[in-house]
């Protein structure tokens, strides 16, 4: 199974509530995926700044003096916000790649969850309500976000196996389903220079889209390409700095419901996830068509 929720806000007035709305939706999808949960929240960093979200299984040790060490390595000031096993490092955008490289030397054990101008990803093993509480997701504001509750099929129940997967700057993907040709696609993407953290099928889906975007394709074209090149069952929801997209495989047995009002576009694996959204009674509610790409960009 697995549960997916997503919210793309059109009404700025709702932005402070993004995290609270997504948390409520995510917890509703607990029985579709009680193994682990994750959430990607997009909120603009300051002008000229970037955010790197990192995770450690020994946060007290790994995050101690990390800001000072990183600032010294970069010769630039950085700020760090520690949230349980994750930390969000804010730094000048131009230093983002240098910082990632410095991090791998300074703290070899930490994992980069996401990097970009807007994205922050928090994910852990455990019930969605516990994961959301650990990272205080309900207090976060933002423009759009994606959440996932996982019932593992293709790889182990670990933090790195939880969704969302981020394989490019400000990009992320969540998946309900299972891919059957992921080993072959992973080999090809590795040849093209993409790197992988896990043996997970979804990470291949994410890297496939990131690779397309890297070669200059639009989000719409990258999503179209999943229909021809990826084999298996999938409902994908993807996030980019400005956008939010949905695509389902041609068989479309993995459920999906969408709702749109003047205030938002929302996605849920089931209608249950959407019932507490404002104005849902009068929203346009529909099931996304199979093999059809939907995306919204601001």
């Amino acid at each position: 199974m697995c549960g997916i929720v997503g919210l793309f806000l059109k009404d700025k007035a709702l932005e402070p509530q993004l995290g609270a709305m997504l948390t409520d939706m995510l917890i509703t999808m607990t029985d579709r995926g009680p193994d682990s949960a994750g959430i990607a929240i997009y909120s603009g960093a300051g002008k000229g700044l970037a955010k790197i979200t990192v995770q450690s299984s020994e946060p007290a040790k790994a995050f101690k003096d990390l800001d000072g060490d990183l600032a010294a390595a970069l010769g630039q000031p950085v700020t760090i916000l520690i949230k349980d096993s994750h930390a969000v490092i804010e730094l000048p955008l131009a230093q983002m790649e240098a910082a990632r490289s410095a991090l791998s030397h300074l703290r070899p054990g930490i994992k980069v969850m996401s990097a970009g101008e807007a994205i922050e990803i928090f994910k852990e093993v455990g019930l969605p309500k516990d994961v959301a509480a650990r990272f205080q997701v309900a207090k976060m504001g933002g423009t759009h976000g994606i959440g996932h509750t996982r019932m593992a099929t293709e790889s182990a129940v670990t933090t790195m196996g939880a969704h969302p997967f981020s394989t490019g700057s400000d990009q992320c993907l969540v998946h309900n389903g299972s891919l059957s040709n992921h080993n072959g696609v992973r080999r090809e993407l590795k040849r093209q220079g993409m790197t992988f953290e896990t043996e997970n099928d979804t990470e291949v889906g994410a890297a496939f889209i990131s690779h397309k975007l890297k070669t200059g394709e639009t989000l719409g074209n990258a999503l179209e390409a999943t229909l021809t090149d990826l084999d298996g069952f999938f409902t994908f929801v993807v996030g980019t700095k400005n956008g939010f997209g949905v695509v389902r495989d041609p068989i479309a047995c993995k459920p999906a419901v969408m709702a749109e009002t003047d205030q938002y576009v929302a996605f849920g694996s089931e209608y249950r996830a959407l019932v507490n959204l404002p104005g849902i009674e009068t929203a346009r509610v529909w099931e996304p068509e199979p093999a059809t790409v939907y995306f919204w960009e601001r």
């Binding site: 068989i251 047995c253 089931e270 209608y271 249950r272 959407l274 509610v285 099931e287």
Partner: protein, 229 residues
Amino acid sequence: MQTFDLEAEGLRALNSSLHALKGATNMTAWEVINPKGAHAIAAGVDAPVDITVRGSTGYYCAGMNKQATIRIKGSAGPGVAENMMSGTVIIDGDASQYAGATGRGGLLVIKGNASSRCGISMKGIDIVVHGNIGHMSCFMAQSGTMVVLGDAGDALGDSLYEARLFVRGSVKSLGADCIEKEMRPEHLALLADLLKRGEADGKARPEEFKRYGSARKLYNFNIDNAEAY
């Protein structure tokens, strides 16, 4: 009228109250409020009662229904009226995947659109869809009647047995062994009756439909193919 607040009282309490109704009962009218997409609402009812669900439902609403008339004043999630035996289920909105799957009897009416696999493996149920149906609908459908006022998606009636399919709009593609057939007077009479019972008689006339059925090449033993078996 018995009003049941699903959010306050819970699904198990609702379904056990409905399952307790046997044969003649004087509690014949039920209303379920706050369904909020919950699963298995009014599944397994076996009594001649009227149940109105005020809102949208999740998986398997009205599954295995016998005798009851169940109205959904919203849209229905996957597997609505799955394996229905008798009675009537009427959905004001849309229905998700595999509506009426394996249904053995009764009438399912969907006033909006139905998505993929509507009527898959149907075995006697009648289904009237006012809108469109999605891909792979009536896959391996054995008996019963499907009436679609709108269009049908890809692979309609793939590996069809003896179900009768009527589509007023376009058919994106026919599945293996499904062919268009001539419309005879008895089919027009059947359609007129189903359109009326499906609350669609003001929307379409029987003459506007095309009939599809099995070419009967796939499921009959063919001696010329004996070596292939």
